[in-house]
Amino acid sequence: MATKGAPVNDPMIDPITGEYVVVAPGHTFKSVTETISRIVLTPHTPLGWYAGFALAGGVATVLLVAVLYLFLTGVGIWGITIPIAWGFAIINFVWWIGIGHAGTLISAILLLFKQGWRNSINRFAEAMTIFAVVCAGMFPLIHVGRPWLGYWLFPYPNTMNVWPQFRSPLLWDVFAVSTYATISVVFWYIGMIPDLGTLRDRSKSKFGQFIYGMFAMGWRGSVRHWVRYETASLLLAGLATPLVLSVHTVISFDFAVALLPGWHTTIFPPYFVAGAVYSGFAMVITLAVPIRKFYHLEDLITLRHLDNMAKVMLTTGLIVAYGYAMEVFMAYCYSASHWEYFMMWNRMFGPMGWAYWVLITCNIALPQFMWFRYVRTSIPLMFLMSLIVNTGMWFERFVIVVTSLYRDYLPSSWGTYRATTWDYATFVGTLGLFTFLFFLFVRFLPMIPMSEIRMMLPQAKVQPESGNVVEAGH
């Protein structure tokens, strides 16, 4: 490491490990509470927030219009045809739900591995999960053609005496995604209760005290409650971990259980999960960089977070690269199937081959720059990298869905795919909805978990046998 051995003057670098610190030095319980709760409780909402909120709301309105027109007209307004019956809707569904997965990974898996640095980015990564699932969940629903009958997917006693078919991955999806949405919301809310208590106690307005008080449910920080709370958090983390792996596995089953070349492959579950985490971390960086700048949270979201997230992206990116390599190997060398061979050739050099090369460039080639510490700790470069990876991951789903479908077995049934304005409007609209919800979140809820940051401060430790000695402030 470059900084090791050299005298360290930067207070943001830990002199012993040479790593960037997780929380800037000099913070106390009070200053942490102040810094985070001020954002929510301030009576002066920054003008920039209004501007962003209005812009995001405007873009979200596009979604409203697109969906309204869809309901009035039908899925014919989209570019889907036979043979490409799964177009943007499924691409966007998989893309959004993948983004959500990093939130669960940060909140659950990194908690189990006792990665303390995750604490500062945990809450808004979870919020990102929920909003991403909101956007994702909409797509299959509006894609079914008659969304007002969507509830037929659930097993409920009805006068038609009809029950769902449990051998289909599409039905598994319903259970996986609905469980995922529910558990994510519960995990997020339970984690927020102590902080809502803080907001209730610090809010100056009667209305704020009432609302936060109701949602805090009377939390008073009893250590008996804390012990149960900690157990429940660990259990939820332990449950969310297999859940998040299963959700993207089940989504990959939607493809892998079909017999289509390009979909029918056993590598899909692990490679989908890795890709999900990859794009999710990219989205966390896309969100964290502007937020820490705008709200001056450089003390709590430090370069250490960027550095670590970059390393996770590098790892998952390589797993994804392995997945691509395996697909090529299976198709060209191992399967000995003419259809597999043609699918791969067509994917690379067919009329839509450009999409494949965009994907390889964005997901594999360019992210290799993250091997350099300079890139990992450069904020503009990491922001750029996160946008590149998000683009690449969208193209991955495009390549899987479209280039497998448009030229299958029989040349007479080949077709092509061209997305319509309404496809783009719906997609861009969900970006707006996501940002809109996120703006609401950063304004009205504590985006960094205060209790967990307090726990990370040096003075939070109990000094043995020094009961009456007041510690010198760090």
Binding site: P155, W163, R167, I183, M217, R228, A232, S451
Partner: protein, 180 residues
């Protein structure tokens, strides 16, 4: 809830976690049992000091998970074998490998909901009114940067004068008598 009158307990405020744990340990060994510590972040040492070791959240979670898997697997079996048998490409009606996936999801769903709501129920939450909120310094500190020990009046050993002087021995920042 019937109205109660009188003193709920004595609330001592400390500036550091070490002072709180020290006081709580001594109160426990002096024979106080009906007491609680209030901290702005989880402090396991304080829970151990007042003799709280066993929470039943894991048990509730386990029971919930078992309920979830049983519910979904039986539902799938009943639907696919008895209520609405469908012949899908000649597969058996009782195709249990396919049933695992929704049953797995519901295990997690029920276990997660049980852990979360079980935790709240065991804590007696939601409870938006509590006598401690009457203490003037409690709300500004307990959820932010101060550490509290409350010895409750229902404890047989509790005596307003004696308990107060007992607590004063630990040099707390303040001692407040909390009313119901």
């Amino acid at each position: 809830m019937p109205m109660r009158e009188g003193t709920y307990g004595l609330l001592a405020e400390f500036d550091t976690p070490s002072q709180l744990v020290h006081a709580a340990e001594n109160a426990y060994s002096a024979g106080y049992r009906r007491m609680d510590c209030y901290t702005p972040y989880p402090l396991e040492e304080a829970a151990a000091a007042i003799g709280f070791h066993k929470d039943y959240v894991s048990l509730v979670c386990l029971l919930g998970g078992l309920m979830g898997v049983a519910a979904m697997f039986s539902l799938e079996t009943w639907i696919s074998v008895w209520s609405y048998p469908l012949n899908i490409a000649g597969r058996p009606y009782f195709s249990w490998p396919a049933f695992i996936v929704p049953a797995y999801e519901w295990t997690i769903l029920y276990a997660g909901l049980s852990a979360a709501f079980g935790m709240l129920a065991l804590c007696g939450l939601p409870k938006v009114y509590h006598p401690l909120f009457n203490a003037p310094n409690f709300r500004s500190g307990a959820t932010s940067d101060k550490f509290f020990l409350c010895l409750e009046s229902v404890d047989p050993k509790f005596d307003l004068g004696e308990t107060r002087s007992f607590l004063e021995g630990f040099t707390p920042a303040s001692i407040v008598e909390v009313e119901y």
